[in-house]
């Protein structure tokens, strides 16, 4: 059971890849905490939104095998 994590902007730069496949985590919080420590992300989770399968989601959303997760840093379009 695995998930795909997408990285954008400064998170992508820090991760060094734009996506990676990881074992299904217990929660989004736990996943981001682990990734932060592994990749050295400087943005705290409180500043991020999260998306699951292409739609904004709550941080306590359930995860399932094969889902696509994206952590959304503060946006700066326009």
């Amino acid at each position: 059971m695995s998930v795909t994590v997408l990285y954008f902007a400064s998170l992508r730069d820090a991760a060094g890849v734009d996506r990676e496949r990881l074992p299904l985590p217990a929660s989004l919080d736990a996943l981001y905490a682990e990734l932060s420590s592994r990749h050295g992300f400087s943005l705290p989770a409180a500043k991020l939104r999260v998306a699951v399968d292409g739609a904004f989601a709550r941080w306590d959303s359930p995860l399932h095998d094969g889902c696509e997760i994206a952590f959304i840093p503060p946006v700066s379009g326009g």
């Binding site: 997408l6 954008f8 400064s10 992508r12 739609a55 946006v75 700066s76 379009g77 326009g78």
Partner: protein
Amino acid sequence: MSRFAISEVAFDIAPLREQLLGHDAGAYASFEGWVRNQNEGRAVQGLFYESYRALAETEGQAIVNEALQRFAITRAACVHRTGELALGDLAVWVGVSAGHRGPAFEACRWIIDEVKSRVPIWKHERYAQGSSTWLHPDP
């Protein structure tokens, strides 16, 4: 035509505006964001916009649909560039047609404000001094 689009290449405003014309509309307000030569006091040489395209298009479409509900307007659309942009390049366009000018202005302003705060697009600026950075403003 989709009401919100991400464009990876320079786009032409004329046909987009054309789609908003109609004999039922007396007012048209539009907004364009251009790449400026400075940001918060630093000289900018160019920039790059990245998006989470699928989500950006979903969210942008939701914003325009919401504007059509909230304001007495006829039609509305928005296109946002991604990729490398030079100084003076068009970064974003919003167009709104309405019976009267009040709602046209208000909806146009509302759409660009929402796009800037909600749509997953990120700006990477290159400065004259040689450094560069992703912009992740505090909400």
